[in-house]
């Protein structure tokens, strides 16, 4: 067992893990943050996307021991209290989700994508979210949501 100290959504945590436990499993089982979903566990679907030290990564492709000292943000940490993040609001407004299983991964990916591409074209949006799979929406509502979120974020800054 290794002890791992990390910050999750602004809270300092210490967890005990076997080296083989993925960060996704640690967040879900040790930190009780089940918003990070697992839909493939081999890096393709993006459902498990979280932010580690400010970057979007697959939490199924990282061991929890590697996150020692890291600053982690999960879907649960995105809203500001009751006030949803613009990306969350946009997914709601544009029907960017149906079953919602892929949604936390998309929201985390899109949030980071818009940090580097604040004013994306449609093609850039589709490329930018192509690392996340959704089986319900055909992506149309998600593309609209990204556009709406970009507009709102640009309006804010």
């Amino acid at each position: 067992m290794h002890e791992v100290a990390l910050t999750v959504n602004g809270t300092n945590m210490r967890i005990e893990v076997e080296p083989r436990m993925t960060l996704a499993d640690a967040l879900r089982d040790r930190c009780d943050l089940t918003g990070t979903h697992l839909a493939c566990e081999h890096g393709v679907c993006g459902s498990c996307t979280i932010s580690v030290d400010g970057r979007a990564v697959r939490s199924c492709l990282m061991f929890a021991v590697q996150a020692d000292g890291a600053d982690v943000m999960t879907i649960e940490g995105l809203a500001n209290g009751e006030e949803l993040h613009p990306v969350q609001k946009a997914f709601q407004a544009e029907h960017g989700l149906q079953c919602g299983f892929c949604t936390p991964g998309f929201v985390m990916s899109v949030t980071k994508f818009l940090e580097t591409t604040p004013d994306p074209t449609d093609d850039q949006i589709r490329d930018g979210i192509s690392g996340n799979l959704c089986r319900c929406t055909g992506y149309q509502g998600i593309v609209r949501a990204v556009k709406r979120a970009a507009a709102e974020l640009n309006g804010q800054s």
């Binding site: 290794h2 993006g46 979007a56 697959r58 492709l61 192509s130 690392g131």
Partner: protein, 287 residues
């Protein structure tokens, strides 16, 4: 889909890492983007993983002796956005965005991709095309292996079990160069089914230097020497790029797999070589 157990260490120097690797069944963990899926599916298992992430000297891009030197642990996303890479190794900069998705590149490393040596991967091909040198450290010191001798087979390289790759050096091409990457992947971000990378340097209307490398056509990325020799020394205006492209695939016998037949890879590979050459020459002309 959960990995088998292993011991874990995260050394902070290369020497410690090499020491840790001397244990029998130890394996380097870099970005984990290829290794962890294999372990999750229990297609691979190791007694110990040696995580190189905490060795600062293994990361970063610098310009050294006419090369762009990239630390093995440099994340693909960092290399992609590094002006030193864009300026000194434009082919690499063009190849990088084709590697998976940005979330993968945020973790995956340049060295990891090269050591993983997937025959459909971009970075090994870029290393081969650019005649990169791979720097390998082991218990007996550091050795330097040219890319042409590095890739031995599917996911098989010149790196020994107890060695680590510390850096890759990509020679900088002179003025008048142009580069292009063309690949066919089933979906955005997938490994290529087949692809081509080309570089040309043009001096006074004549091709002074050329490189053609293909991926997805065999067990390792390949350099197309015969096709290159049709280019180098020829005047640009007189080139029959279709013929060059045909020469590039003439000796290839690409495999059939789930996503494409060997015949497809040959035919489309040739067309991609031609597309890439045209784009590289075009770019060189404007350089």
């Amino acid at each position: 889909m959960k990995p088998a157990p292993f011991e874990y260490s995260a050394p902070t120097t290369v020497a410690e890492a090499i020491e840790a690797l001397s244990h029998d069944d130890a394996k380097v963990l870099a970005g984990g983007q290829s290794l962890i899926p294999l372990m999750a599916m229990r297609l691979s298992r190791f007694d110990r993983l040696v995580d190189l992430r905490r060795i600062p000297e293994l990361s970063g891009c610098t310009r050294v002796n006419g090369t762009v030197r990239i630390g093995a642990m440099t994340r693909q996303a960092d290399a992609e956005h590094d002006p030193i890479v864009a300026e000194g190794a434009p082919l690499l900069a063009k190849a990088l965005p084709n590697v998976g998705h940005y979330q993968i590149r945020n973790q995956g490393t340049v060295g990891g991709s090269i050591v993983h040596a997937d025959p459909s991967a971009e970075l090994p091909t870029a290393a081969l095309a650019l005649d990169a040198t791979i720097e390998i450290a082991g218990a007996s010191g550091v050795r330097r292996v040219p890319a042409s001798e590095f890739f031995l087979g599917t996911m098989e390289t010149a790196v020994g079990d107890h060695e680590i790759v510390t850096a890759i050096e990509f020679p900088v091409w002179g003025p008048g160069s142009g580069f292009a990457v063309e690949e066919m992947a089933r979906r955005h971000g997938d490994f290529a089914v087949v692809g081509a990378m080309c570089g040309v340097r043009i001096e006074g209307g004549t091709v002074a230097q050329s490189a053609i490398a293909m991926f997805g056509v065999g067990s390792v990325p390949v350099r197309c020497g015969a096709a290159e020799s049709m280019l180098t020394g020829s005047t640009v205006d007189g080139l029959d790029l279709g013929a060059v492209a045909q020469a590039a695939v003439a000796d290839l016998d690409p495999p059939d797999d789930l996503h494409a037949s060997g015949a497809y890879r040959r035919a489309v590979g040739a067309a991609l070589v031609e597309r890439a050459l045209r784009a590289a020459i075009e770019e060189a002309g404007h350089a």
